[in-house]
Symmetry: C2
Subunit: 258 residues, 2 copies
């Protein structure tokens, strides 16, 4: 039996990245798409708790069953599992993307692409978020096809450790082909924001958040290094946020534990 | 010199929880409030990348400098640091809450309250998210006051390990006082969603996400156990999502690393 593959993303169901991903996934298994009806970049692990959700079947993937959802990427995965596929066979893998832009390093926290994947992992399904480190409007996704297929097939064959979702980033296309795959840790880097203040036609101020990315990491075992050196980076991610190493520190240091 | 305390939340700047937190923080140091102008529950670590932000000074905290922001909790902390306090003294601690409802276990991922705290930790500032495990409209916050003060003072005195933010949850008020503080790990639990399908006046379907919380954790060292046993739970949280233990597993298992 062919594997069942749930596809979502955060750039929205009409984006080029999800179209590319659906095309590749059709070569691997049976595909179901549940994706946001509008761009949801930067939505992190948001869910819709104070508003209603809409879900509508659409026919834009040449025979592939697909739904657009008014919610976030995490909502899409929840609705796929607990509404669209309720009482039916559940997906063998959740794939999200291909995001139009990098989700390396700290960006994993802000990434809607990865929240769909992590939601899959929470449900106990192997899951992968794919992102292309190229923000150009006409970014070329073609060089990622073989890697997407190989990585998804590997995950289907071997599974993933419990509670793990993969954060896969591809370098922008270059004259040389991608050198290979590196299993990485999340680089130690952050965004330094600036706020561009403008004035609207009613003379009230508003702001655009902009920022520059600062990499503090000197190592070669992280995703930023891999991308800079033309490798595909694969970071296994977890949803247990506990800083386990800090527990004994606090237990020893704090005087208020009584 | 008194410590400078940045206060934010996700229930919005007019909520009872942030009012309570500001009142307590005024006893500890100088307070600056930058909080969302509308409820942002379930926003996870969302940031505003495709829309503009508004920021407006408001006078609702009896002399405390306060701004309402149209963005998410993470946006608020970013704007506080990189706009309101740009070029000035930065906060000694970021506190967020008090959330009206639990943020234990897996809820930390969906929590706007904790995203404000984690944003503080990313910036290198000790940070604490406070939540009250009581969803009742008229929830009583009074029994949390001493704990909020003690925990904040302890963090100011001792600092926190690098990259750590605290997820603090308080049990709902009971006839017995809270038993004490437990340093915990995040419990292994999840939400099982259901989608309540309704039909709008135009006969189009819409959905409300509802769900029930399922705790798989049998341990006594986790936040769910602490709350159930009338303790204040403190989980040190990190923003490195790498599942470090999975790196050697993938390096050994995968055949496509070549």
């Amino acid at each position: 039996m062919k594997p069942l593959i749930l596809v979502s993303n955060d750039d929205g169901i009409t984006s080029r990245g999800i179209r590319h991903l659906v095309t590749v996934m059709k070569q691997v298994g049976d595909v179901l798409v549940v994706a946001p009806d509008s761009p949801q970049s930067g939505m992190g692990h948001a869910i819709t708790v104070n508003n209603v959700l809409r879900l509508e079947e659409v026919d834009i993937f040449d025979g592939v069953k697909a739904y657009q959802c008014s919610g976030t990427p995490a909502d899409c995965v929840k609705m796929a599992r607990h509404f669209v596929l309720k009482g039916q066979r559940q997906p063998d893998v959740v794939v999200s993307g291909v995001n139009h832009g990098s989700n390396t390093s700290i960006s994993v926290l802000y990434s809607g692409t990865m929240s769909a994947a992590i939601e899959g992992a929470i449900e106990g399904t192997p899951a992968i978020g794919f992102s292309l480190c190229d923000y150009r409007h006409d970014a070329d996704f073609s060089h990622t096809e073989d890697y997407i297929k190989k990585i998804t097939q590997q995950v289907l064959d071997k599974g993933l450790p419990k509670g793990v979702a993969l954060n896969v980033n591809f370098p922008a296309i270059k004259s040389e082909p991608i050198k290979g795959i590196r299993i990485c840790r999340q680089a130690n880097a952050k965004w330094v924001e600036e706020f561009d203040r403008r004035v609207d036609p009613n003379r009230k101020p508003y702001f655009w958040m902009t920022g520059s990315f600062v990499n503090f990491d000197k190592g070669e075992d992280n995703d930023e290094w891999a991308i800079a050196n033309n490798y595909t980076s694969v970071v296994p991610c977890q949803f247990d946020l506990t800083a386990h190493q800090a527990i004994p520190v606090l237990n020893e240091d704090w005087e208020i534990l009584g």
